[in-house]
Every structure is written in C-alpha cells, then in structure tokens.
Symmetry: C2
Subunit: 337 residues, 2 copies
Amino acid sequence: MQTIKVAIAGFGSVGRATANLLLSRRGRYSQVYGADVRLVAVCGSRSGLRDENGLEADRLDNLEDALTGPDFIAASGADILIEAGPSDFRTGGPGLAYISSSLSTGRDTIVISKGALVHSGRQLRELARLSGAMLKLSGAAAAALPTIDLVHHSLKGCEVLEVEGILNATTNYLLDAMTTRGIGFDVALREAQQGGFAEADPRNDTEGWDTACKLLILANFGLGANLTMDDLNVQGIQSVTTELIEAWRREGHVPKLVGSLTHLNDTFRAEVGIRTYPLSDPFANIRGKDKAIRITTDAMGETIAIGAGKEPLATAAAALKDLEHILTARASSPLAE
Amino acid sequence: MQTIKVAIAGFGSVGRATANLLLSRRGRYSQVYGADVRLVAVCGSRSGLRDENGLEADRLDNLEDALTGPDFIAASGADILIEAGPSDFRTGGPGLAYISSSLSTGRDTIVISKGALVHSGRQLRELARLSGAMLKLSGAAAAALPTIDLVHHSLKGCEVLEVEGILNATTNYLLDAMTTRGIGFDVALREAQQGGFAEADPRNDTEGWDTACKLLILANFGLGANLTMDDLNVQGIQSVTTELIEAWRREGHVPKLVGSLTHLNDTFRAEVGIRTYPLSDPFANIRGKDKAIRITTDAMGETIAIGAGKEPLATAAAALKDLEHILTARASSPLAE
C-alpha cells in the first residue's frame, strides 16, 4: 500500500476540522485508493507537531512552540500540503509563503485560504505548471458550494456566458435577518458577532471583499480570466437601511449581495453589489448562511447550485474532496516528488 | 494529432443535436485535447451513413437505407459510441444491443437512453469492467442537471444520506401549470402534447416511470446500489385533481413529483411520488420544464442543483461532457482498442 503524507498549515477551526475529518476517513482512503494516508505535520502561526509515522487525533491539542513555517512543512516529507491559514488578499497572508514553497518543490497543494490566490494567483499557477504539482482550491472557492467544479466538470465543453453568486454566508445571514425580521443592520450584525459567524471587524464580509475574492478566484482559476481586485467594482451591504429593505419588500423583491461575472468575446467583467430577486427566483430563497451560484452557459442554459453545509466541517470536506481528486489523478501518474 | 472516431446510434432529435454540437466543437477538441474528433457513423432504426474520414453536417439529412445495427457501428471503426435511441426499460430497448456490443469490444460508450441501463445495468457495468471500456451516462441521468456528477465529483468523500429529485420535465410542467394557472390535468396535458413536450402516450412520464428510471440509474451507477424497478414504489401524477391542488395551495404548499432515496446502513430505499413543499423551499420554485436535485451528505449538508437547459441541446451537451471526460481520461491511459 502506497503511503501518502499530508501536512496542514494553518491550524484554526478549519485546519483542525480538516485534520479530524482526514483522520476519520483513513479507512476509506485505504479501501478506495489503496493509500495509507498519514497526517505527518500540522502547524499554526507559532506552534506545530510532526511525526512521519502519522499523528493521531489525541496529539493535536499539544502543539509545540516554534515548530512552524514552510521549512518545517518541507522537512516533514509531506507529499501533499493543505493550507488553511488566515486570508489576506492585500498581502497574500501567511499562506503565500507556504503555498509558494510547496508548489515550487513539486508538492501537490490544497488551498483553503483565499488571500494568496487573489494576491498572487498567476504566479502560483506558474509555479505549479513548472514543477508539475497540482494546485486545488475548492475550499477557497465557496467551499461546500460547487463552483469551479461545476465549470470544470459538470458543464465541461460549454461556454460560460454569465455567473452570479451569493458567495458570502455572513452577509446573506445579515440581509436575510433584516428582510425577514425587519431588524436593522447594526442589530443583525451584533447578533451575528455574538453567534460567532461575523468577525469583530466585519468589513471584509460586509463591504463585499470576501465575495469579491471568491468571484475573482472563480474567474481566474475556473474560467481562465486574468482579473485583479482593481478590475472589480465592489459594493457591500453596510449602507442598506431598513427603509430600503422595506421598499424592496413592498415590491416583492429580496436583496442579496451578489458577485457577478459576464463573459463576452474573451472579455470578463466582474462586480460585487446588491441585486434584488422576485420570490419566484431560487436566489430569493437562499436563507441564513446558505450560498448559491447560477451559471449560464451556451448549451446547458442556467445551472444553479445551492450549498448549505455547516462550518467548519463543510470547508474541511471541500478540501478533502480535493485530496481525493489528487489521489485519483496520481493513481495514473505518480507523485511529482 | 490523435484521431478519435465517434459513432452515434439513434438519430432522432437528440442524436441529431448531439451530432451537430459535436461537429461545431471540433476546433475545441483539437485545441484542448489535441484530438481530431471525427463523426464516422450515424444510424437510426432503418438507415444510416458512414465515412471514416468524417461526416459533415450537410450529409446528415441523406441517410441510406439498411445502414444500421451494432455490426454497422462496429465496422465504422469508431473509438467511442454515443447511444441516443428510444428508451424502453421493460426490454432494454434497441440501445441494449448497441451498448452491449460496444462495451464488449472495449469501445468507450456514452449512453443517453435510460432503458438498457435500467434493464441490464449490472451486466453492462460488468461488460465494461471486463473490457476496460468506459461507460458514461450523464445524458441518461437527468441530462443537463448534474446528478451523478455531484456525487462522484463535487461531493467526493462524503456519504450520501438522502436524495430527492424533480427529475421529469413533463410532469413538472403539468403540475406547475395546474398549480399556477388552476387548470386541470387533462387540459394541461393536451397543452403539453400540443407543445411537443408530452408524448401521445404520456404514461411513461405521468405515471412516474421516467422519474423512477433516472432515480434507479442514479442509485445504481452513482451510489453503488443494486436496485431493480421491482424495489421501487412508483406513484405518478395522473390522479392529482384540481381540488387537491387547491387544498395544497391554501396551505401554501406546492406539489412536485419527486424521486427519493434514503441510504442507511448500506441499505437503499427508493420511491417515486408526490411531495409538497412550502414556498420558501427552492423545490417549490422549480418552474416549467426545469429539474432539480437535493443531495444530503454527512459532511456537506444539503447540496441542491437546478437545471434549466433547453432540449434537445442540453442533453446533447450532457453527452458531450461525457465525451470530454473520456478524452481527459484517455489522455493518460490510451484507448482500449
């Protein structure tokens, strides 16, 4: 049986959920792929743990100081890196160094955080191409909601003409609460912060940047566009008032924060902002923390996907879907390292 | 450049749409896969045409008598068969002989008609396994709506707990017309028949058999079940009255003909019948000839897909998605023949 060594960089709630889900699926990996999948290293920003024989779940609460960084991961001998660190699209975040190091040495890399992909997507793709490493990013492109999957697999052969997506759970929760319960933005936000699904500084979500990141990743990695954040007009939901919501409600319309993309004559236009939908549109009924995408193609018309997984498990499952796609692909062509 | 020869058996509206779409995409196949994809044979039940240098669109209206049958296809030297004949799940239909012959000689086979897959699915899988041929069937499993795709690709690694699907366009059109316009079953049916999207004998749709076929294909080929039609309780929409519709309407519920599947402890239970949904459920808003599926998994929660492609183009595009998946797979491992 082939041994596949996996490392996880970034060990917050998503990294931990990914580790635990991976460990719980070892029987499946052995049975379906004939692979002994071992978790050989994990690390957060300040501490980590490494064991080439594989870490078990009970050791993951006792990380050791200073065991962290791209060199620590490289020394673990991992075949595959899962990057789950904090996202920062303005700098690439801590993920950028991990992902660059991993791809440049031919290590297949599964990216969950969006920052590096938005900041340096083109360079990372080039690193992967040069080394032959696979770069997978379902976890960064709306996680359990299939997005790039749909384009690359389910709609293969079709030309994508238009995309619109409700891609950010926090803003959908806020708008949904404001619309269905008539509460104001500030009240809804405090509620979401207390529930733990809005950040103390919520602007990355509420000003539309998280939606913009996912849209940009979908455009560049899914559709072959070459957009940067400067190409996008990004509007958030922070100025949506109860009066506006009430006016829309009277017209039978439901507001959503939508990332949209049009593709015409090899030109992509992308933007983020409020759109309103009549109640008969599936988008009007995307509730709470659910997400959705509508992809219009030349030959298959409209395809809509709606995802309603619970976090952080759903994102972990998206990353481990990427892992299985790598195991499948590598079964016919061996690992680069 | 590698030459890939394709034959199409079954040359009604779907077969023709598939031929024309394939011919229009030759530039793409050459550019993306380095493949010179040629349509080397087509045949209906009584006539056909063959040319190993490839048929062009303008010749497809002049088929010659008696050029038909599995031997005719075999003699064309096709690498890949697309089967698009009429569907009959009680006998396997004419497709069964084409598909069996094709798979047993190692020819990759794309199936659009459901009959043979329902009637002899296990035997066909076994033929494919023995010869190493690929058997693809997106066109038979609700066509442009991703179903097996979702399970095998987008939800990979997750355990499917439950499936429910609005899988038949004709019955959804009829129920939608009855619900939104208050007309009776007979009036709605005549309208659909005049519009050309209900058969003169509509029972295969209205009594739930088409939904049952798609559900069974999804269960057996998508989830590894081993169900036969005898295992399913199948109810149709033929006895839905305007009084029933009105009673549901008063409760704010919308009726849909749904194929459903539960998966517990390696046991699958499947049935077809009416379910009703509140207006806030995306299933309540699947309109006209659209289709939808909801798949519940352990790690990703609920994933819904909605498809709204126009026929026969959308089914043709589903079959040619399968073709591209074969081209991708065969790029790393050569054609069996």
